[in-house]
Symmetry: none
């Protein structure tokens, strides 16, 4: 398996060593980022916990966050549509 070429496209070098090293590097970059992501998820939970400790209900808070996000996306879509129309009628931004 070590000498097998994992790449589906043409190998730019004459050994699997380099390919393996690059793959490993990519994998580790992903894992590092995943860890950071996980840490942020924990931070978020901590905020909810802290809020709960001061008397706010996380469940409702999540609802609020979700609603605000939906509003944002809706606004952004409307904005994009607007710009599309403006471009269509020759109004530069």
């Amino acid at each position: 398996m070590t000498s097998a070429n994992l790449q589906t496209k043409e190998a730019p070098d004459n050994s699997g060593e380099v390919s393996g090293a690059r793959l490993k590097s990519f994998i580790e970059r992903v894992e590092r980022l995943e860890e950071e992501k996980k840490a942020l998820a924990e931070d978020i939970r901590d905020v909810y916990s802290e809020a709960k400790a001061t008397g706010f209900e996380p469940k409702i808070m999540r609802k609020i966050v979700s609603l605000r996000k939906a509003n944002l996306e809706k606004r952004r879509e409307e904005q994009e549509l607007l710009e599309l129309y403006m471009a269509a009628i020759g109004m530069a931004e």
Copy 2:
């Protein structure tokens, strides 16, 4: 609604203003963290894209990442089981 007390526990102040401000602060902290999390998710996708551009298949890479994570979790669970056993037979930590 503006004067209603959103908190389930006793209000430590005489107005909903303060409570609302605190809630808003929590919400915004969550939203900030969510944004960072989203950015990381994009970074991860970028890594996969970059890897793909050099010839690695994201599908296989994801499997590898997933497998390594499973290994890690399994090890952690085994450790927990061991500690559970030790606790059950009265061996203090």
Copy 3:
């Protein structure tokens, strides 16, 4: 609502009655299955209770079950990864 077409695709018949009857039938099949599932969940709880009554700790038992399941899944994933590799290097199944 009664005459509205609940189906997203074209209605193959001239009334909502049939559509409603089919929907009801699906719903009831789901509910029946959900009931059976719930009964099984209760059976499982009963086993843990019985085990506990004879001196085994459910917490540890759950860990064991979980660990064995993890082993199984890990093995399956490794197999999938292997097949993925084989496919990637052109080895037909």
Copy 4:
């Protein structure tokens, strides 16, 4: 580990062998039930798939199932409350 007594209460026998066998039996009973439960979950998914193939939206169907379940529970709770009241005022069922 093999001779360690996993039971927290007094061992009714002079060896861990029997205890281990009983534990294994409990574990396997749980696993068997879990498998059946999983099979039912798949059956349910199949029903939704089949419904979807005939034009019904699973998302809405799930909502309906959930609502009917809530109604059922609500009714049952009201019934229990009613019986409680009746018992309280001496009205036998």
